[in-house]
Symmetry: D2
Subunit: 264 residues, 4 copies
């Protein structure tokens, strides 16, 4: 929308309808993981999914640059994900559930929610503060810091290994309500971004070290549309920190290779 | 979305699930209208609609303040609308088509697109410049001004008259694509915001005068996701200026009283 | 500066060198006062000054609109002031010391520091949240809220009385260092903005009620150039709240009628 | 200012009064140069200076990152400079005059103007758009783009050579008015940032190619405090483009080693 003016150019369609070359798009990714409790994650699972493997939550801050679909502009993202097993009647698979993805630019949020079913919402993601061998990332909404993520003791490390053979990819819970009919559902689906598909990624620099992440408990007045998300994440127990990484890479997919999981 | 954290509070549901009182919500509305040509509008009509009456385009800038669902914050909107007649097999009616609505805050854009089917997109809407008896409004995206709207010669006038009996309300073209299936449609509907429903509006100050509006022709590099919208609006011929107004009022609807038009 | 391109237009000189008419410039002023202890203020006095009268600190948030020198734009200010007595060899007088003035726009900060000697610094001053009969103001720097100011129980009241005959006006401590010579002084002066001078102020609406203000203790990492200011203000004891007000008025001075106090 | 709260931490003094280590501070510098006419530059010279050598104007966009004095934050700068010869009674020397330096953060503007006498003013400096082998930089104020700078055909090149022996450094015209006394001067000096002093710079990547820069002629309403600067720069004739560069380096001076030139 709006459609009467013709189709909107975006990540998956250029001004002439063609596709963009994203094979050399650079990004910087800062990641912190922690072990939580399986029971704590059980309340944050999408329909048809159950916990699988170690309950490790990963918080990932990504700076995207030189995006062709934005005529060379960039933006940043902050995602929260953890492993789940999808158990449908027709298919079952293991994957990583992207529970929420904050982005600091409205345009990819709109196309991401509507075209590919990702749970994107908005916040400010200022550039990291880098000081005394620490990198410090924050997420902010209207002057309220609701996330602090810190990396330290970074030294060169190995690139991420390929996912295990039984890892299907990234999972999303797509939901759209019926118009003006409170509580009714227009569309509800589980979506898979296949692990095998997408871009060839080239790693320019890989640093590994320790890291911590804190979600700041927040009041409705501070975050009127997302206090409930931040507070549930803040309530996850941290059983053990599982390290952090800072990776410069290039190469991305336009995500047009997704599919809807068949639940029955 | 995201739904696994529970429902998101918004304009139509508070943190406790209840409704907000919007009966005293203040707004300031600046409006400029112009007569264009019927043939020019014919290319900008949603499905099942045809031109009706005089082809008068209205551009409306609204500053909303003290919104309860944002815990007292405000934001601004810029809409473009014109009269259409909806001709379905089952029902026919006259209304005003809201072709596009820019807003300067992501949260109402998301809820507006998904919950009520409005064609909302993002831009910056700085406060007006008021100088030498002119009020000057702009719409901006990433440092590029794509709309100038000016009001002058304002003097006290009458509040807007009630709509004619055959005016059904505000019309919207709701469209959502299927996931990752280029060119296929998940949902396409015409939505009506009834004229008779909604809030009691109280007019605190009504000024009327002359006004002009200019859409600035823009390149893809300047507005990569909306150059096509701005350029089609910039191409509409101005046959005659139809005046402007600046209105302070209070009272709004939460728009939960919309309905889907039956097209067959 | 820069001067090689010619003089810079500003509040006191237009693009043609002339003055601006500020007699109808509108502003909205939110004020909260509290009684502190004389000894606590004694550490925050400029040279040649001593405490006088009740140690009442006033925090004042002002929204300026329709400024001619900014071609109709506006900006906001947040000031902290308290009564002092200036005791020079040549003259002695009572006034109100403006210890610090935050503004959310760089241009008036530069001209204000250099042309009139006010202690202006920068922060973000978002529009107030107005909700459930409270108005809530914040001051923010890079995602960190360092001041909360709240007004409530407002009802119509009287305009501010004229200052007492022995109140000379607003006092400023102007200080400029020598270039690249650490710790040496280029200029240090006390400046007076006379109470009797300036604009005729017209009061459009006066509301009075209760109010509170909180400076948030802050770390250097959060406010690297002003943590020391905020922390000293946060440390002032609040002996008694002295109420708040919210005033719409118009009429301002361009402050060109200031003078330097003679200290010896 | 304000001084009653104690000294302000900044680039040249930390929260404990000590200095910062800037030897590893990273920066990215994009530069475009053009040959203009000596007579055109003659109107933009500070007192006591005359043109020297080829009238080559350099426009330089710098992104600073990981600044210790900002607790790891960064900001950007846009400078305009050209060669001049300072001819005082007591000393004569050749240097590069920094006519104006825009920065996108108020705090270094204040300390830079008052502590070291640089002609800094404010604008927005968005990150560059990098697209189809071009890097595109803009300078913006309140939604108005007043500078476009483009680099292309970049390939690895040599680091900047050391300055010639008779190049004294960077020159600044420091000017401060008397308070509230229109047209009178408090301080007017020429300041030298010595070429020989400062940091050891390490070059991480040097790219050289072609480049163009355009200052956009602007009205007072668009740039009320700097239209005169932009318009004088826009009026400089471009006789020949002299190429561009994009350089990643680290190491900076805190600029505490400046001195005032003796003019008589």
């Amino acid at each position: 929308m709006p459609l009467v003016f013709g189709p909107t150019a975006g990540p998956r369609q250029g001004p002439d309808g063609g596709k963009f070359d994203m094979s050399r798009t650079p990004r910087t990714t800062a990641t912190v993981s922690f072990l939580t409790e399986t029971e704590a994650l059980r309340g944050l699972l999408p329909p048809g999914c159950e916990p699988v493997g170690e309950p490790v939550v990963t918080v990932e801050h990504t700076q995207l640059r030189e995006l062709a679909w934005l005529a060379g502009r960039g933006y940043s993202m902050l995602g929260v994900k953890y492993p789940v097993r999808f158990v449908g009647d027709a298919e079952q698979l293991n994957g990583t559930f992207l529970a929420v993805l904050w982005e600091n630019m409205p345009e990819p949020i709109l196309s991401g929610r509507e075209e590919i079913g990702w749970a994107k919402i908005y916040c400010e993601l200022p550039p990291p503060r880098v000081f005394e061998h620490q990198a410090h990332y924050r997420a902010v909404w209207d002057g309220h810091v609701f996330l602090n993520l810190t990396l330290e003791d970074l030294s060169p490390g190995d690139p991420p290994p390929p996912p295990p053979p039984d890892h299907a990819g990234l999972l999303h819970h797509r939901f759209l309500p019926k118009v003006s009919t409170k509580g009714e559902t227009e569309v509800e689906q589980m979506i898979l971004t296949p692990a095998s598909a997408g871009a060839q990624v080239h790693y320019d620099r890989v640093l590994r070290g320790s890291g911590k992440v804190e979600f700041v408990p927040s009041r409705w007045e501070q975050l009127p549309t997302m206090f409930h998300i931040v507070n549930k994440l803040a309530a996850l127990p941290v059983v053990e920190w599982r390290g952090g990484s800072l990776i410069d890479s290039c190469g991305a997919s336009d995500l047009s290779d997704q599919r809807i999981l068949t639940s029955s």
